[in-house]
Each structure stands twice: as C-alpha cells, then as structure tokens.
Symmetry: C2
Subunit: 202 residues, 2 copies
DNA sequence: CCTACCGATCGGTAGG
DNA sequence: CCTACCGATCGGTAGG
C-alpha cells in the first residue's frame, strides 16, 4: 500500500499542491522536490505542466466514476435510502477534501473545460437521479415544485463547496455541517410524511 | 458615472482579473496595460501586489457591509419576507458574479485569512439571522431540527458557489437555478404551513 | 506617470 | 534520472 512508482507519487503530490495552492500557484520544481527528484525528471513522466494537470483531473473523475455506480445502487427507492446516498457522496469528499478543492478550482479556472468533463463523467448519473426525483413526484413523495436537474446540481455543489471551504467558514465540527447539509437536501426534496401522518390520525 | 480616477480603475480591473484568472494567474503588467499605464505606475498607486489584493477584497466586503443593513430590514418577520431577503442576496451577487468568484477563490487560497475577514464583516449579521431562526423555531414556524448557524452559512455558500460556478454547471438559465436555490432554502427552513392548514381543515 | 533595470523563478529543452 | 542551460516573465526598485 505504501510502495508506489514515481509517476503515481508525482500525481499524489501534484493533486495535493494544485488543490491547496492552485495550478498557477504551484511550480513543477516544488512538486518534483517533494517527491525527491528534479524538475527535468518530472518532465520525463509528464511532458508538460498541462499534461500533469489533465492526469490529476482524470484520476479524480475516474475515482468518482468507479464509486458512483456502487453508490447509486443505494438509491433505488425513496426517502429511506436518500440519506445513505447523500451520505456516501459526503463521505467521498470528506475522505479527501482535496478532491473537492480541485474541482472547485477547476470550475473557476476553466469553466468550459470542466463543463465538458462534468457532462462526460457525471452527465448520465445526474440524469438517472433526475429521473428518480421525477418518479418520486409522480408517487406523491417528492415536492411537485422541485426542479430535478437544478436540485441535484445545487446539492452536489453545496457538498463540494462546503467541504472545500470548510476551513474558511467557522466549520468547528465538520460532522455538524455535513448533517445540516443532508437535512437541507432531504427536507427540501420530500413532502414531510411524518407531519402528514400525525395530522391525518388526529 | 464614467469618470473614475486611475486608482479606482485599477481596482476595477484587478477585481475582474483576480476573479477570473486568480491572484497567481494575474500579472501586474496585465492589469496596468488594461488601464492604459505601465506596471511601475501601478506600483505607485498600490505599493505591492499584496496591497492591491487587500484593496480589492476590502472594497468587496465594504459593498457587502453597505448593503446588508438595508437588506436585513426586510427580514424582521417570518416566511413572507424570507424570499425577499434571500432574493436580495442573490441579486447582489448576480449583479456582479466576480464578487462571488473572488470570495470563493480567496476561501481556497487563504482560508485562515478570509475566515478572519468573514468574522469581522459578516459575523454580526450571521448572528442576527441565527437569532431570527431561533425565534422562528420557538414560534413553531421553523423546523425544530435546523442548525441556525450552519444553515445560514450553507445557504450563503449555495448562492455564492452557484453564481461563481454557473458557467461550469449547465446553468442554461441563471434564473431557474436561483429560483431552485431559494426554493431549497425556504422549504428546508419552514414547516410547511399550507399543507398543515389543508389537512387541519379537513 | 515613464524608461531602464534588477535578481529570482518560471516551464521547458539538450544531451547524456 | 541528472546537470546545465534557454528565453520569458515575474514583482519590484532607481531615478527622474
């Protein structure tokens, strides 16, 4: 688990540095030095800084692509599994907040470029989730005025943004903040069944 | 309205550039050239790049500080005025999305530094809003499980993040997305009175 | 507000 | 994987 070849170690360090100090704020020599080699040796593994950037981003999106199918299987039915689903997404980014920072930075640095990548990797999953929501509306479980696609995007964004910028907010307890995000997401999606039932049995 | 001194024009251009290409991705000569002067002349107005950065951030926060008291007067009571309040915050950032991008970038680049600024400028207002929410809970208008401070922070973050990264998401219609954000914020805060009343009158 | 200039560092190449 | 080196550009200063 600890033995990695140099290409992978370069990718790890580059991910961390790009996430924390940004692409423009990170020099190739800084990355190389942290791995224990010199800049020209780095450029043998990745032929340019841009290639390194692409490699870093590709790996993050592939991680995502590996985990999302598994996560989405949790979401075959209604409210019960919703917390599990959002919880998994939260855990994915909490496990390594640099993933969130990296994506947020890329959104700011190269909007068009990232939009394409998001469409390719996440597009299908977002459509699946939107369909689930639409079915929930038809079943009467989900609020009728939800905009499915916008809802999904903003929940993802709340999670990614919340984790990426947790240090800037007074995020004393990450868990408390993530719980509140899940609560916001859930209660703005579902019609409140408990309350309905309480009142109906009166 | 069009006549500005050079210091102000430098501030405008620096704000735009820092927001779109980042602090590290913007050179002083690029800013100076766009204003029509040379780099050493810029450095007469702002003695270093860091001073320019501070000046840019100060102005954004002061804008905010000027408008927030007025906006908050809209929020003296419950659900009716909630949409107006969130709507004003949305409009503030939609009017100039670079404000949102700048703050998001600073959160990523210098978390500790921005946290202090946020506390100083926004801290009191966040406390006021948290108190409103707490009173709403006591009145039975607001969900009892809301975490007031976390709720406020994440709604702000959803707005700022959503506007800053609108280009990256498929934000075909900004209005649709902002409406969905307001809907998410409102419906996750208030107990659904309409539904309650409908059922009670049955 | 300018020209002229500084040392430092950048991404990248040559060549082994 | 290295040393040595490239032109370009960076933030900043001198001096007027």
């Amino acid at each position: 688990m600890k033995e990695q070849n140099i290409s992978e170690r370069l990718l790890d360090v580059a991910t961390k540095r790009f996430a924390t100090t940004g692409y423009n704020g990170t020099s190739l020599s800084a990355i190389a030095t942290e791995v224990g080699i010199k800049k020209p040796s780095l450029l043998y593994h990745y032929r340019s800084k841009e290639k390194l950037r692409s490699a870093v981003l590709n790996r993050v999106f592939e991680h995502w692509n590996d985990e999302l199918p598994r996560i989405l299987k949790l979401a075959t039915s209604g409210e019960d599994r919703f917390d599990g689903l959002v919880g998994e997404v939260v855990r994915f980014f909490v496990r390594d907040p640099n993933r969130a920072r990296l994506i947020l930075r890329e959104m700011l640095d190269r909007p068009a470029h990232l939009r394409k990548r998001m469409d390719d990797y996440l597009g299908p999953y977002i459509s699946i989730l939107s369909d689930y929501i639409q079915k929930g509306v038809e079943r009467g479980e989900v609020r009728a005025d939800v905009q499915p696609r916008a809802y999904v995007l903003h929940v993802i964004q709340m999670v990614v943004g919340g984790i990426a910028t947790a240090d800037s907010l007074g995020a004393s307890s990450i868990d408390l903040h993530m719980n509140e995000i899940v609560r916001i997401a859930r209660s703005s999606l579902f019609i409140d069944q408990h309350r309905t039932q309480e009142l109906q049995t009166k």
